[in-house]
């Protein structure tokens, strides 16, 4: 294989070790919530650059729109009105893939090469290899990937790996009008975050801090929070995220067992697979199970 523009360190469902001689700068996106005005420029730039357009929805009585991440909305703003000690705050958080150092999605993914982690820290989905099982969703401690209804494949933020590969910042970060989004080496980002935290503390936010959760080995998308002691205030940002126990099960006991057990099932459903694709198989199987469960 030719040299990639970005070196790969991990590849889903693959045991061959990755080349690791070259040294790549570890990158990160820093989301400074205290400078974010919730303008959704990041959402717009993401759709525009990645050639995706989500459905034109409806208003649900809040500013959020689209209401949740979808296969066509890889980032969304989440708005929370919080009143504490008589002070109103509108805490607005850009939600999307955190690009974990220890990515639960990649660990959970059974399709070889569908999820990659590059040496610079980006976790990328390669949909042409995705089988649509949705296990990355279960594996993700932040509930980020979404299956497309159109092609049955999982999608999420790529941190604009195509832009980063040629030395450009991701589209959302370039667009961000107030500089709430910053991009650079992870080390630089931590340093920048320190300055911001210092400024916030001087303005009375004693608990300001950096969100770079150790439960997933740290992330390549980090937050500066005014209330780092209460991440759940920011539309339920997990307090201490970790990889789901189910993923450990899959990686540990279940995988060899399952391969054996399912070889037989696969024979029977092969024709179905060839014509309709794997998503249908798993759904059919699930329906069967549901019937059984109901008995």
């Amino acid at each position: 294989m030719a040299l990639q523009s970005l070196d790969i360190t991990r590849r889903s469902a693959t045991t061959t070790p990755a080349p690791s001689v070259r040294q790549t700068t570890e990158v990160a996106k820093l989301i400074d919530v205290s400078a974010c005005i919730g303008c959704k420029a990041c959402q717009a730039a993401c759709m525009e650059w990645n050639d995706i357009r989500d459905e034109i929805g409806t208003c649900h009585g809040v500013y959020d729109n689209p209401m949740d991440l979808t296969a066509k909305s890889w980032t969304v703003m989440r708005y929370a009105e919080v009143e504490q000690d008589g002070r109103l705050e509108w805490l607005i958080r850009k939600d999307g893939c955190m690009h974990c150092a220890d990515p639960g999605c990649l660990k959970a993914c059974p399709a070889p090469g569908a999820i990659l982690q590059y040496a610079n820290g980006i976790v990328d989905f390669h949909e042409e290899h995705c089988i649509g099982c949705g296990y990355c969703i279960t594996g993700c401690p932040f509930n980020i990937p979404r299956l497309s209804k159109e092609d049955g494949k999982a999608y999420k933020c790529s941190l604009c790996s195509d832009r980063v590969a040629v030395g450009q910042a991701p589209a959302c970060i370039k667009a961000c009008p107030t500089g709430a989004l910053q991009f650079g080496a992870k080390e630089q980002m931590k340093h920048y975050a320190e300055e911001r935290i210092h400024d916030l503390q001087s303005r009375g936010y004693q608990k300001a801090g950096l969100y770079d959760p150790p439960g997933v080995g740290g992330t390549h998308v980090m937050y500066v929070l005014h209330h780092a002691d209460q991440p759940e205030l920011y539309s339920r940002l997990p307090n201490d995220p970790g990889i789901s126990p189910l993923v450990s099960l899959w990686k540990g006991v279940a995988k060899p067992l399952a391969t054996l057990a399912l070889a037989g099932v696969a024979l029977g459903s092969l024709f179905h697979y060839v014509t309709k694709g794997p998503n249908e198989v798993s759904k059919e199987l699930e329906d069967e199970l549901e019937k059984e469960d109901a008995k």
Partner: protein, 808 residues
């Protein structure tokens, strides 16, 4: 803006009031965040809603929409009674020391000279006392009871924190906290910038809202300073440029006030517009008016314009009345208009009282729409369900719809809010048969001209003689036009100090407006743009963004009018001796021989400080006006209620029912009857923009439709509870002019306010929706708004009116 976008980063305090910069100007708002990050600046937001600007503020205070003068008058009271003003600045650079006519009075809500029948003022007492030389008298001690300072102090003595809180609904402690923050910038080395927009202009007292803030900035000494100024964050990309070109009835390009029936001759016209200095040694820059006007006449009528025929003065139409957009639609509504053109303008959505606008359009013989997109106005005759009920069979208007290009499909210049003219280049052809705005106008004019040439007709001369030196007559190039706007020498132009010295040869582009002449030897389409295309070429296309001062001045990026000056009145950034008030942010300084520094000085370059030439060169008195007789409703701003108010009396003048609203506002018959009363419509409605959308354009853009797909209104939790409305419910909002239906957003960000002993709720109404677009179809928000405007500018009162709301 007196300053510019990047300069906001130089502020110590940023005040956002009468606007919502984070949502309406996010990329400009970046410089607010930069000021916070790098200067430790504070951001204070005063708004009826806790906006996205407020979400990143250091301090927020709520206010009832329509009570800004009460708030800011209270700030003036605070500054004066706590002695938090920049004394030297106020004494030397404003008219605080000027003596006013002894007959000047303010009683019972009215200034002296009020005529209730005509709804206007005779201003004969609103004037300076003059000495025998015709100069204004001053009292430098500021003690004379008739000096501006004392009159101002007396006027605002009524604006106590208690009364301010009672009128505005702002809790007293919050109001005082904001005052304290503002007062800190009275120090000579501290500045506050104010970012406002339509939240101040769209009121029946809009101009006075802004003036009150200008007075605050003068008292604090913040005008002319880096990080200071009065900064109107303007609307469209080229709203500044189109205003400068004066596509409105009162003025000709460069803000030259247009002739009226009173200006019978050119001499009379010029005399009325060429003031004499009101203090010794002042620049009195408007004394150059005849040079600007004559050069414009030469630009338009070329060789036909001679001294002997008054440079074709009579060919310019004279104005007999107001022809602002409200007046135009009133005329149309009365059946006095035959034809109408909307060029990139969607009045059915953008003008108050949609029903009236629709009925007015239906009375036209012909309507021409020039636009890149399908506008609601272009289909005013077409039924679109309850969003637009119309009967085409009854509408006899002939409607033409002409496709024109967008920014990406043409070359030309835009002038941003900071007065910087920037050139842009065409990237692609427009779709289908669309052509540029220039080509539409040129082709239409050429067609009309050919008809007059062939058939004759009424007064063909101005049409046949209009200069048209463009190589392709049906398609003048942007380069040709900008050169004409900038100005050139028709004959040799000589140095006024040395008549033998030629400073511009015949045929050359002029370096700036200082080279314009009133003898017909120069031509200039817009004097304030003088020099944008000099012999050095197109300066608006310059792209050197170097910033040696670190202040963000970027003097070699584009071209800022006037004269590439980035901060207006920058002479006021120095003390009278020419030293910067704040050396760390020096804009300019006196070097001993000349003014120089980090900007183009707003001062005669060799005017030594001891000559006493004052910084406000556009006034005949050389100083800024705390007392401004030009304003229609009084030289000092006074609080009046909106035309639709939840109060039954003006708390400042409870005994005078006639002082409830602006006493000099123009109101048409029928519109006053259509004002709603608080008994039927108890809540304050206010319209505004959302960050996800741009007016009525982005409803045609899928990305923006995804981000905010459907029309909604915002109400506070308390009102929602009273009305049994929960978030996501469909609600109907009614005013006395009509109704809209929308989804309810219920929020903690809008609070009920305690106003004059009663609870006042606000209903927030984003605009942006209509019946044409890729977003979900919606109602036109201006179905609800009243057809009444500001007494000076006639900007409609979109920001404060009365509504009711119910669950559908």
């Amino acid at each position: 803006m007196t300053n510019h976008w990047v300069d906001i980063k130089n502020a110590d305090l940023v005040m956002v009031m009468g606007g919502n910069a984070a949502e309406a100007h996010p990329c400009g708002f970046k410089w607010v965040i930069e000021a916070k990050k790098h200067r430790g600046a504070k951001l204070v937001v005063v708004d009826p809603r806790f906006t996205r600007s407020a979400s990143v503020s250091d301090y927020y205070a709520p206010i009832r929409s329509g009570s800004d003068i009460a708030f800011l008058g209270g700030v003036i009271h605070y500054l004066l009674s706590n002695d938090k003003i920049h004394h030297d600045y106020v004494k030397r650079f404003t008219n605080a020391a000027f003596l006013i006519d002894a007959g000047f009075k303010f009683e019972d809500g009215f200034f002296s000279g009020y005529n209730a029948e005509k709804r206007n003022y005779a201003k004969d007492t609103w004037k300076y006392q003059l000495d025998s030389d015709g100069y204004a008298k001053i009292d430098e001690t500021l003690q004379d009871p008739n000096c501006v300072f004392q009159l101002m102090k007396q006027h605002y003595s009524r604006y106590t924190p208690e009364l301010v809180s009672k009128v505005t609904g702002t809790p007293k402690d919050r109001f005082l906290k904001v005052c304290e923050m503002i007062a800190e910038t009275a120090a000579p080395d501290k500045t506050m910038t104010i970012c406002y927009a339509l939240g101040w202009t769209q009121h029946s007292v809009g101009s006075q809202n802004i003036r009150t803030m200008a007075m605050v900035q003068l008292l604090l000494g913040n005008m002319g300073m880096a990080g200071g100024g009065i900064n109107a964050l303007r609307g469209h990309s080229n709203v500044q440029g189109i205003t400068d070109m004066c596509l409105y009835s009162e003025v000709l390009p460069g803000y030259l006030s247009a002739p009226t029936d009173a200006d019978k001759t050119r001499d009379a016209y010029l005399a009325a517009r060429t003031p004499k200095a009101l203090r010794p040694n002042q620049m009195n820059f408007p004394q150059n008016f005849p040079k600007w006007f004559t050069s414009l006449q030469k630009a338009w009528y070329g060789n036909a314009a001679t001294k002997d025929n008054d440079f074709c003065y009579d060919w310019l139409p004279k104005k007999d009345a107001g022809y602002d957009v409200l007046a135009i639609f009133e005329r149309m509504y009365q059946g006095k208009m035959d034809g109408f053109v909307c060029q990139g303008f969607n009045p059915l959505a953008a003008v108050p009282n949609k029903r009236k606008v629709g009925e007015a359009l239906a009375k036209l013989k012909y309507l021409v729409i020039i636009d890149p997109l399908v506008t609601d106005t272009s289909e005013f005759w077409k039924p679109h369900g309850e969003f637009n009920e119309a009967d085409p069979a009854k509408i006899q208007t002939e409607v033409f719809r002409l496709p024109c290009n967008l920014f990406a499909e043409e070359t030309g210049s835009y002038t941003n809010s900071g007065r910087v003219v920037q050139w842009h280049w065409q990237a692609a052809e427009g779709p289908g048969e669309s052509i540029s705005d220039t080509e539409v106008v040129a082709r239409l004019f050429q067609k009309i001209k050919a008809m007059y040439q062939k058939e004759g007709g009424k007064l063909p001369e101005p049409i046949l003689n209009l200069t048209w030196p463009y190589r392709i007559p049906a398609k003048p190039s942007p380069e040709e036009l900008l050169m004409e706007i900038s100005g050139k020498a028709l004959g040799d132009v000589f140095d006024p100090k040395d008549a033998t010295k030629v400073i511009a040869k015949a045929g050359e582009q002029l370096a700036g407006f200082a080279q314009l002449r009133d003898d017909g030897s120069t031509t200039c389409g817009n004097w304030i743009y003088g020099g944008v295309w000099s012999q050095a070429g197109n300066l608006s296309a310059r792209r050197d963004n170097s910033d040696p001062s670190g202040l963000g001045q970027t003097l070699n990026w584009g071209f800022a009018w006037p004269a590439n000056r980035r901060i207006l009145y920058n002479r006021a950034s120095c003390d009278p001796s020419g030293k910067p008030w704040d050396p760390r942010r020096a804009v300019i300084k006196w070097t001993g021989k000349a003014w120089g520094g980090n900007d183009v000085p707003d001062m005669r370059p060799d005017a030594a400080p001891d000559e006493g030439v004052m910084p406000f060169i556009m006034t005949p008195e050389g100083v800024a006006r705390l007392f401004a007789p030009a304003m229609a409703e009084g030289p000092f701003p006074e609080h009046y209620e909106p035309f639709e108010t939840p109060l039954d009396k003006n708390p400042f003048h409870p005994e005078n029912p006639k002082a409830l609203n602006n006493p000099v506002t123009r109101i048409y018959k029928g519109d006053s009857e259509a004002f709603g009363k608080a008994a039927d419509f108890p809540y304050v409605g206010t319209t505004y923009r959302l960050v996800e959308h741009y007016h009525y354009w982005t409803k045609h853009a899928t990305i923006n439709a995804v981000l905010q797909p459907e029309q909604f209104v915002e109400i506070g939790e308390e009102l929602a509870k009273e009305k049994g409305i929960v978030a996501g419910d469909k609600v109907k909002v009614r005013s006395s002019r009509g109704f809209i239906k929308a989804v309810a957003v219920v929020t903690k960000r809008i609070k009920a306010l305690d106003v004059d002993g009663r609870k006042v709720h606000t209903v927030g109404i984003p605009i942006h929706w209509g019946f044409k677009g890729v977003a979900k179809p919606g109602f036109i928000a201006n179905t609800l708004t009243p057809f009444v405007g500001d007494a000076n500018s006639q900007t409609p009162e979109f920001k404060a009116f009365l509504v009711n709301i119910e669950k559908v």
